[in-house]
């Protein structure tokens, strides 16, 4: 193993440009991946918070069958929770926020209708639930903050999808970089490899230094990416917490450690896979 490791380091030294190019691309990819994953984590947390807050309010007509409508609303699969709030309860709530509401009600009567208040299981289903409830006989109007919820969900989902696409492309690019670097390294050692084959070296023996090369580059890129990403994220989220405490940023170690560990493992895995493919292909071409 000492021999293979030495050969791997020699191959990397003899092929510095390709090795550095691979290392940098891979580090950037892992940084990007880490960034997107952390962003997704925070987006998910924000969406969860939204899900907890978003409510569909269905205003009922005066002659509506309140209990029957409540049962119908509860039967909608996307509805997590539904409750009936009478016009009197609404007035009481409104009076808490706006004390003059009760005075006004005494003059013109209670203006608030009985209301069904629904919570959805997934925030993305809000519009669908609102549409279904609006279609029920006896429902006069529905309100769910359409503009706010729809735009937020669409933006967050688009950001998440774009991030995944970008990371996918970068991972593919990194894989090709590794393939290329290992191939160049093997080509540089072609005489030695040719001698090895004639002397009866196994494929595993010939491939080992280059597989180690991929592994080392992957591990170095992972270490570099984590060394940049972790402090940068912690400092950024600290700022966000100070400036916009409304955003539920993730900073707990128990959530961050597995995610960052996963990014590091992926870096090592990409390095390993790239070099395994490259060495296999090179030797197949020689056969």
């Amino acid at each position: 193993m000492k021999y293979h490791l030495r050969q791997a380091l020699l191959a990397m030294r003899g092929n510095v440009t390709a090795t550095l190019a691979t290392l940098m691309t891979m580090t950037l990819t892992l940084l990007m991946l880490g960034f997107v994953l952390l962003l997704t984590l925070n987006v998910n947390r924000t969406i969860e918070q939204l899900e907890g807050q978003v409510e569909v309010a269905a205003f009922l007509a005066g002659d509506a069958q309140d209990e029957a409508l409540l049962a119908q609303a509860r039967a909608i699969p996307q509805v997590r929770d539904a409750r009936l709030v009478t016009s009197e309860q609404v007035l009481t709530e409104m009076t808490q926020d706006t004390p003059f509401a009760r005075d006004a009600a005494q003059l013109v009567g209670n203006p608030y209708p009985d209301t069904l208040r629904l919570r959805v299981a997934r925030v993305e289903d809000t519009r669908a639930v609102a549409t279904q409830v609006a279609a029920l006989p006896g429902v006069e109007d529905v309100e769910y903050g359409a503009g706010y919820v729809d735009t937020t969900v669409r933006t967050l989902s688009a950001v998440r999808l774009a991030g995944y696409l970008l990371v996918g492309l970068l991972l593919l690019g990194t894989l090709f970089n590794i393939l290329n670097a290992v191939r160049v390294a093997m080509y540089a050692r072609r005489d030695e490899i040719s001698v090895m084959r004639l002397l009866g070296a196994t494929r595993g023996f010939i491939r080992m230094p280059h597989v180690l090369e991929g592994l080392i580059v992957g591990a170095l890129a992972a270490a570099l990416a984590l060394a940049i990403l972790t402090p940068a994220y912690l400092s950024l989220t600290e700022r966000v917490q100070q400036l916009a405490p409304v955003f539920p940023v993730v900073r707990d170690t128990s959530t961050l450690a597995p995610l960052l560990g996963g990014v590091a493992c992926l870096g090592i895995l990409i390095g390993l896979l790239g070099s395994v493919f490259a060495t296999r292909r090179y030797l197949q071409e020689l056969e």
Binding site: V195, M196, L198, L199, G200, A201, T202, R203
Partner: protein, 227 residues
């Protein structure tokens, strides 16, 4: 040791007929020359024995087994039973003579503690024990070829293939290399030498196989160069 039965080798890309219906047998412990003009099929013969090529028709058996039986890891094991020496000695320029020879032991997984004794013995056989720390560039072409022979025999293979081993050498060095190959043969190793060197074939007489345009045209058990 080596058995060719109606072997034809045609390279598919160039559609060159390298060997044409060749049948022969080389027994254990023999010393055999393979002679012929350039393109006669000598290197193709070597490539088949080394399993660097497979016959288009016919059967090649090495050590009693058909080439097709040697797959994957077994190909490596087959090659460990053969020492190979080429016109270009293929020594690794950054390793000294000792390390070049030891390289054969390293790649075949021989424990490191055995290297000094075995490498020294191989270098002694080729008369270069005193130059074990010399880099290839510090050795003459003849000496480099002898180091390549030491590397080929350090694993004690039962078969040694030498493809134009004296191609780059002057007459004196060529004779030295032939003597070394004969010594290796005297230890019981089967030696096959592909060569153009008429004087060597005439001087050190052994069984001689003559190839012409891929056909085996002569198998002379007493030697002699007759093209």
């Amino acid at each position: 040791m080596i058995d060719f039965k109606h072997v034809t080798l045609e390279y598919p890309v160039t559609r060159t007929l390298a060997l044409d219906d060749v049948s022969l047998n080389i027994g254990k412990g023999e010393f055999v020359y393979l002679v012929g003009h350039s393109g006669a099929g000598k290197s193709s013969f070597m490539n088949l024995v080394l399993k660097r090529a497979l016959p288009s028709r016919g059967e090649v058996r090495v050590a009693g087994e058909p080439l097709s039986a040697y797959r994957g890891r077994r190909t490596s094991i087959l090659r460990r039973r053969m020492g190979t020496v080429f016109q270009d000695n293929l020594l690794l320029p950054h390793l000294n003579a000792f390390d070049n020879v030891a390289f054969a032991l390293r790649v075949t997984g021989v424990p490191q503690r055995e290297w000094p004794q075995r490498v020294t013995a191989a270098l002694r056989t080729v008369g270069l024990e005193h130059k074990k720390y010399a880099l290839p560039l510090q050795l003459s072409l003849g000496e480099q070829q002898r180091v390549a022979i030491a590397r080929a025999i350090v694993g004690n293979p039962p078969l040694l293939l030498a493809d134009e081993p004296t191609g780059n050498l002057d007459p004196d060095n060529s004779r030295e290399v032939l003597k070394v190959l004969q010594n290796v043969n005297l230890r019981g190793t089967t030696v096959i030498v592909a060569t153009h060197a008429r004087d060597l074939v005439e001087t050190f007489r052994h069984r001689t196989l003559t190839l012409r345009k891929g056909k085996l045209v002569r198998d002379d058990p007493y030697g002699g160069y007759a093209l």
